[in-house]
């Protein structure tokens, strides 16, 4: 998106205005606020939910198999039970922690490695850039689900391995984005200036390139969340995701699919959890992208009926 021209942007007309607090901005966008609340809730549940659960998520009772959601069986019976008679509510809470403990490290790993490599390659250009891009091509040319299948069958399908595979599979996305940004920035005046002062490459990358590329990279990362959760669930469908008795939302959907006709709540509720979380992440990512961009922030403040151009997904986002 082009920078808004300075004649219409109040960011330029009033350069010294203190930007409004981010929560005030957030409060004005009802959609983004709701998304933030949902995400915060998910994270809180993931972090602290297990403290209250005890063994509820694993406690089986084969006599209480497939109870529909109802008020008759106490708090943990609210959302019904699965085929092993475990509380679906407790499992959803437990699964939130597992799901996030896979998605978050996977996204962080690929973000860190991919961005570092990409910025380095893009800044230096030439051979280094070429090699990095070809590495990205190699990874992208492997069907990622298949690598996952091979690796997870050869090694144990532990959470650690799943994180590693998902991280490796997603590195090219960040690598390409970061490289493109760095390649564009490296010819800019301020980078040239820093270079003539003898600033080492690593410092230029850290101090000049990273801050500019970061918002885009973070947006891609937030949206990648969605991809990682869905892939994790596909792995469970093929039977090589998280291994029971651990449980993730993806595993719950995969295991519940055969009960879709008889006990919808087993597969539908975790599916909803995935969708709600990813939609919230997408909405919030679009919002954060605007809010962190000084040239775009003003768009958030339009009155509702005139609210203008808001990019939902940055073009760099690849899924």
């Amino acid at each position: 998106m082009s920078a808004p021209d300075d004649r219409t942007s109040p960011a330029a007309t009033s350069p010294r205005t203190r930007p409004p607090r981010w929560w005030r901005l957030l409060g004005r966008d009802r959609g983004a606020a709701a998304a933030a609340v949902v995400l915060a809730l998910v994270f809180l549940v993931a972090l602290f939910g297990r403290l209250f659960l005890g063994d509820r998520a694993v406690r089986q009772d084969l006599r209480a198999s497939l109870r529909p959601p109802s008020l008759d069986h106490g708090f943990y019976g609210l959302l019904g039970t699965d085929v092993l008679g475990r509380s679906v509510l407790a499992r959803l809470v437990d699964a939130a922690a597992t799901t996030l403990s896979i998605a978050v490290p996977a996204v962080l790993c690929s973000l860190l490695i991919g961005s570092a490599l990409g910025l380095w390659a893009g800044y230096h250009g030439g051979m280094r850039e070429n090699v990095a891009m070809r590495v990205a091509d190699v990874i992208l040319s492997f069907p990622s689900l298949l690598i996952a299948v091979v690796v997870l069958y050869v090694f144990t399908p532990s959470a650690m391995n799943i994180v590693l595979i998902l991280a490796v599979a997603r590195i090219p996305v960040y690598l390409r984005t970061a490289r493109a940004e760095a390649a564009e920035l490296r010819s800019r005046l301020f980078v040239d200036a820093a270079r003539t002062f003898g600033t080492p490459a690593s410092a230029i990358i850290r101090r000049h390139l990273l801050p500019i590329a970061l918002p885009t990279l973070l947006t891609v990362a937030t949206l990648d969340f969605c991809f990682v959760m869905l892939t994790e669930s596909s792995l469970s469908f093929l039977g090589i995701g998280i291994q029971p008795p651990e449980v993730s939302w993806g595993l719950m959907v995969a295991q519940g699919r055969q009960y879709l006709q008889t006990a919808w709540w087993i597969a539908v509720l975790p599916g909803l959890a995935i969708m709600l979380t990813t939609v919230s992440a997408t909405v919030l990512a679009a919002w954060v992208r605007l809010a962190t961009d000084p040239g775009q922030r003003w768009r958030l403040t339009l009155p509702r009926k005139r609210r203008g151009e808001r990019a939902a997904v940055p073009p760099e986002m690849i899924a």
Binding site: L62, R63, S65, V83, L84, Y153, G239, Q258, Q261
Partner: protein, 521 residues
Amino acid sequence: MRSDRARTVLTLVVSGTMLVTSACAVANSDAAGDAGSAGGGTLRVVLTQEPPTLEPCESSLTATGVVVRSNVTEPLVERDPTSGRLEPLLATGWRQTKPTTWTFGIRSGVTFQNGRPFTAKDAAFSIERAVNSDLACNVDGYVFGDEKIDVRAVSPTRLTVTTRKADPILPLRLSFIEIVPRTTSTGAKVRIPVGTGPYAVRKWETGVSISLARNETYWGKAPAYPRARYVWRSDASVRAAMIDKGEADIATALDPVDATKDSTVAYPNNETTALRLDGREAPLNDIRVRRAIGMAVDRTGIVDALLGGLAKPAAQLVPPGVVGHNDGLATAPYRVAAARALVGRAAADGVPVKRRITLVARNGQFAGIAEVAEALQYQMARIGLNVRIRMADTATHLQYQLRPLPRGVGPIALLIMHGNQAGDAAFTTSQYLLSDGPQSTFGTARLDRRIAAANALSGKARQKAFAEVLAYQNEKVAQYAYLAHMRGLLGLSPSVRYRPDSATGDEMRLAEVRPVKAGNH
């Protein structure tokens, strides 16, 4: 430089090429094919997977056998799955003419689907091909071990089979060998088999379907449907949906969830599930721990909740109806407290009960296996053991199942499903109970001796001896914590009539399927 407009058009053409190819390709699928209903003359069967091959000598592979056996090819002798008795098929009868020699009478007037007449020479050829050739057929070894046999066609209607040692169940073993004409290749496996059966393979469209057509020169009773077609869907809910929708007449291996529907029929499939406990590794090397596991398993709970109430709690590896089944064995009592106490006593004696046991199970081996594994894990953990689950694919599972067993993997509790297709405990004991059995982790010398002795017997004595072997294993060895004798679930559309039996999973006789006549509901 081309004009700008032309460039736009070109871009559209480039990206549109795929659509055109796609659209053309849609037309090539078998749209005009025999998509009609069973009433239209085609019996439509949906399997779980595409057969890897239709080679008759591989028909002991379930996926191959279910299509080939008794439909396309036939054996000399077949075992009646309900009575367990052997019935003549392409043979007319058999006698043990010497201790090591069996003589078979061969049916005359039978022709192969390619028009050639069937003689004893074809029978001899088929046995040689399956057992002594380089094809590495699955039936070789599975049924015959490594003994060499001598087969002779004495006349067009007489066949003799000689073994080195006396083999009292040789006719039963021969029931696994499908008869093919002499012209069949011995160097390579065939893609489209030819046999004497009621149906001939018309077309195998790889990945899509296998079509059969009625063999109009069949020597026996003609089947009701002129054509049959197999398709495969790996997801059970899709197979069930195809029955509901009327897209298929028979669906195999449905989920227990669907057991309540009118369109499903349950049948015992001769499979038995159990946990094989590796008695060489602590803490499983302590018989108290192994016994405790047997007592910790809530068989009725698992059967009712996870297996749709279809299976029967088991106390031994072979189901009723198999020679050697011991009616006197009762399932281990479900007593958690007692089991926990047993483990506690073992722990007091220094057994490292907290060492982590890996429960290995195979994805998709039976419907609900993941849940069963979870239940077993939970129930074992409840008596104080430390258990984790590893769901494996077939290849990995086989590494755990077969000798040489993997090293350095710690104590393994392997969830196995054993199908005794032959109806004689000899196959089970030699594989699963011998101390060096290919699928056994340990045993005792006394058990080995008892098995060897039972193998040499026949008739009532054989039944009694094997029954004692099974009882002895439970009492003194306890390598297995039994789960259940399984039952399969078949989907049947209202327009067909078929009674599945214990062999249906391995050979589905399409000739026995009849249309429901109008007003006969």
